[in-house]
Symmetry: C2
Subunit: 352 residues, 2 copies
């Protein structure tokens, strides 16, 4: 082991997946030190033309090979790549890889140490196995979308980022890392199947417990949040306040000049406050309109209240904590992000 080694130094990954979930997973594995070959069809991954900057970001640090898997020459070249691989990631519609001769059974019969990871919308078996889908569909099927948007409003796909896709990428890295540990002990690889929609279902787990524990509440009852959310300030800028705990609630009321709210017997616990969320948030919203955001953030932080500016995308790097992390990398003119933790991070994984 050399001093510069990373957790996955020496691990060779062949990534047959396209677009976002598979390639973002193998990017993170590359950031942990793996070498990744991204196999693309003739003309390249569709993301190259659809979103060139996202393509460049998600595939940085990878070797790219264009292969026509419908030709014997392409399949031969892929077999050579696979002979040296520890991990294969693929995101074809279920059955396609096997039809091309590169399914998990074929490949693991030749090399039982291989870790074969499939990512697809609904998994490789079951009634939806062949169904097309995107992030919004996966969130819908597992119920997550039904509690999204305003508590009193309709279901709304407004989460800002494709949560199911990104979660599936993260679960794929979790499964592949666990499979590498298992292989070190057991000697054999694994055949992993990650349904993107199932990843979304797992994200729902804590909320599902809350829902079942509360006896199947309505969306409004489950999702109403008092003193928790976004508020507009006098200068038109927005801030986020997150006062769940009683001590934060009391400090907030004092800081905004509404100590009377602390004494209101209806507002004694977070659960009871959420029942009056509209009334409480309206009172807070009125108070917040009396000062500019900068004043509020300073004032509330001095009172040890959870508050943050809602930064625009253009402002992120002006934030002193974001600068402290040093996670923003450049891929040409495009910003990319390092792994969000220290202790294992591979510094400087930038564009090839």
């Amino acid at each position: 082991m050399s001093p510069g080694d990373q957790p996955l130094t020496g691990v060779r990954i062949v990534d047959l997946s396209l677009m976002l979930p598979g390639p973002w997973a193998t990017l993170m594995l590359a950031q942990l030190g793996a070498s990744v070959v991204h196999v693309e069809p003739p003309g390249g991954d569709g993301l190259r033309s659809a979103m060139p900057s996202a393509y460049a970001s998600v595939n940085r640090g990878k070797e790219v090979v264009e292969l026509d898997l419908k030709s014997e020459e392409g399949r031969t070249r892929l077999r050579e790549l696979l002979a040296a691989a520890d991990v294969v990631v693929e995101g074809f519609r279920p059955g396609t890889a096997a039809r091309l001769g590169f399914g998990p059974d074929e490949l693991r019969a030749q090399n039982d140490r291989l870790i074969y990871c499939s990512l697809s919308g609904y998994g490789s078996s079951g009634p939806y196995a062949g169904h097309p889908g995107h992030d919004v569909n996966y969130l819908a099927v597992v119920g997550l979308l039904s509690i999204s948007g305003e508590p009193a409003g309709p279901p709304q796909a407004g989460g800002g980022v494709p949560v199911a896709d990104l979660a599936a990428s993260l679960f794929a890295t979790q499964a592949i890392l666990a499979a590498l540990l298992l292989r070190d002990r057991a000697g054999s690889g694994s055949t992993i199947d990650v349904p993107i929609a199932a990843a979304a279902l797992k994200l729902l787990e804590p909320r599902l417990a809350e829902y079942d524990g509360a006896g199947a509440p309505s969306k409004g009852e489950l999702m109403a949040r008092a003193a928790y959310g976004t508020f507009r300030c006098r200068d038109g800028r927005w801030m986020a306040v997150g006062c769940i705990e009683d001590h934060f609630w009391r400090r907030l009321c004092t800081a905004v000049g509404r100590p009377d709210l602390v004494d209101d017997p209806r507002f004694g616990s977070y659960t009871s406050r959420c029942r009056y969320a509209d009334e409480i948030n309206a009172a807070l919203g009125e108070a917040f309109l009396q000062r500019d955001r900068g004043e509020w953030v300073d004032l509330l932080l001095a009172a040890d209240v959870p508050v943050s500016p809602v930064h625009e995308i253009s402002e992120i790097e002006e934030d002193p904590q974001v600068r402290q992390w040093g996670l923003i990398e450049r891929v040409g003119a495009v910003r990319a992000v390092g792994l969000p933790y220290t202790g294992l991070r591979r510094p400087g994984l930038v564009a090839l």
Copy 2:
């Protein structure tokens, strides 16, 4: 190695964290086979009283020990637990663990093989290290909240689940698994620091590339989606449609009886369609009101268009694909979720 072994069989985790992000991370490690001791203060984790059902779900399969770390007796008992530990997870405010004598430097000086993972809102160093915060604050600071909600509306914390918290849990499992692999090769453990807000920043990565590639568009320009989102049907039920690709768009227009939209020169690509998202979604919304949801889902799936019912939380298990996965477990009367992949899953991790 026994046949029933899992990837983390034999790995001992001491979890000092409370509430959601740390305990949900160690739950997933327990689901991979680790044994987890959850150390709680006298009277227990605050989540027990705040949300008993979520507490039961997130801490299932763990041994629970109540210790007063302010007493010598409690600290002695913790030292005994730590002597046998491979991994420590803690979520105190930065500096607290060290003050109690259980910081990473103290513990790793005694046992360099230890993997010490801290989870906190903003990380253990930097200007926000001591700041309180919750999910909404982390999403705000890194800019994710500024593109959430309706494309033309204000920032809105309506994602349905606490995305930053859950992502931080997933990144913690990624980092701990990678550290276990590194320890097998290098012999020594790692000191890992996961800022929850940095996890949210990493989730923003593909969108950040899209934003930079498009030359800093407004929220409305960045987030407008044509033929992608939630739509109401005649019976008042909602469905999700995700037609990004041109071939899905063409099939959709034909299926809803609007082939004229295919021929509209303004709608030739997804990017150009998104510029007219309001017009397109209004036309589709009108068409969808002509039939009940069940009819539309059948009709659109027959045309190979990405469509899904927006299931209520109460309906999830009626879905045939959700039943196929078999991921729903019971913790008493509360539903919980297995790891969302096959190939490594530990079956039957249920309530103690």
